[in-house]
């Protein structure tokens, strides 16, 4: 059994039905986890020797109304990354903080709070991180329109707008194109 399979099996036996584990490729295991299982999972993996909190990131699936949080852990012994994916509701997004398990999550959570607006419950310092005096919607959300922002804030015009938009029009019989 490969290392990846062992980890997969171990997670499955520990967490049962609740978690779907996939081996994405060599060195990468993905665990699709419900929101409330993330912290136990982190604690479990830390105890299993996943010392490295490689990253925490967020993906905005605006069409589904979800944020996907991805916790990426790495263990030197196994030489495997486990990516824990969890989907949370997009409006009033909240998530319990992970800093009590991995203190490295501290700044990652600050960043995601600022860029996506996810509240990390129990985090002591969700203050300004990279931005300054930001009043609008969190900028990394998909509904934040960068071009519009740039046009309004800096008065720059979009030079390629016409080059990109196709002039869609339905069939209208003669006269639609002289």
């Amino acid at each position: 059994m490969t290392v990846e399979e062992t980890i997969k099996k171990d997670i499955e036996t520990t967490f049962g039905e609740l978690v779907r584990v996939e081996i994405e490729r060599k060195h990468r295991v993905r665990a699709y986890t419900p929101r409330n299982m993330v912290l136990p999972m982190l604690a479990y993996l830390k105890q299993r020797g996943f010392h490295q909190f490689t990253l925490l990131t967020c993906v905005d699936w605006i069409k589904d109304g979800k944020f996907e949080l991805v916790y990426n852990l790495y263990s030197l012994n196994y030489n495997v990354h486990v990516l824990i994916s969890t989907k949370i509701n997009r409006d009033k997004a909240t998530m319990p903080t992970a800093i009590n398990v991995y203190e490295m999550a501290f700044d990652y959570e600050r960043e995601i709070h600022e860029m996506f607006g996810v509240e990390f419950e129990g985090h002591p310092r969700l203050d300004e991180f990279l931005l300054e005096d930001w009043k609008g919607i969190p900028p990394m959300r998909k509904d934040f329109d960068t071009r519009k922002y740039v046009e309004e804030k800096y008065g720059m015009k979009d030079l390629t707008k016409e080059l990109f938009t196709r002039k869609e029009q339905p069939y209208r019989g003669p006269g639609s194109n002289g």
């Binding site: 990468r28 490689t54 990131t57 501290f106 700044d107 990279l130």
Partner: protein, 371 residues
Amino acid sequence: MGKIREFDFEYFIGPAHPGVTGNMSYHIWAEGDTILKIEPNLGYLHRGFEKLVEQRHWIKNFPLILRICVPEPDVNEVLLAMAVEELNEIDVPERAQYIRIIVLELARLAAYLFYFGGVAGAIGLYTIPQWTIGDRDYILDLFEELTGGRVYHIYQTIGGVRRDTPEGFEERVLKVLDYLEERLKDYDKLFFEHPLFLKRTKGIGIVDKDTALRFSVTGPNLRAAGVNYDVRKQEPYLIYDRFDFDVPDIYRDGDVYSRAMQRRLEFAESIRIIRQAIDKMPGGAVNIKIRNPFEYRVRAGSTYVKLESSKGEYGFYVVSDGGVLPYRLHVRGPSFSHGLQLVRHIAEGTNIADISMILFSLDVCPPDAER
């Protein structure tokens, strides 16, 4: 953390020059010369790359994404290419892989030269930066010849590199390598064996093994703490498994000295890798045709790709929804680990005169933390 009293000093170092490559400030509270608390203050270099990427076709992100990092921009390009190639299951031509290795290792050399100059400068040995930055220019000349650009190379593309090597390039690389090897002896004499250097750096800014692991430190900083971890060995990307090189494991004290010496030894290993690459490089095509840059799509899915940069593990988490634009790209810069939480932790109790040197020895690079 010591208690901060009203009459303690409060300093800001940075954002103009906190002893790191890039703009970032550290807010320091000190009692006399001893630091009580340090708080990194980011945002000076936040350019919103991750957002910009989402609005550009895949291919258009190559000129953009590498601008995250000045000393070693190529890792960004290669990672983006690797991610796309993995998702779309592209076989990259052999020759392109070898060229990529040469580019990456040359970039590592250039970044280390920058590093040597930085550490020496922070100590006050000002001849060294003059030398190393001057010598780095020879590498930039090679890059200029190969890629058309000196600092930002914009040389990678989906499925390979944009152009084949110019004529006689390999010989000129070897010449520069010979020169650098010769030069290393001078550096040793003037710097690495310099009593001042030894005195100033030994036992200072210690990041021991446990601390390093606890704060997810990677790269040479981790290796200098005695953990033999190198992505090139652990998870050989591109074709690193075909090369014979060592991960030096002599210095394990985790102090400024070990970190500098670790890089000094790795410098020589990189030269070894380039020599092998030039020796073994096959002929053939250097890229594939993507047919239409505006309609190039990447299969839906996500991947985490990583490589060993001069600063540590550099990773991209890439998500595609099957469209012509990336859906999400998260850059995991190594400095996010060793520039923030780690610094908060180790700075307490250090001397204020050492802090610049410690920061530089860790190779904190704010651009890759802030993006």
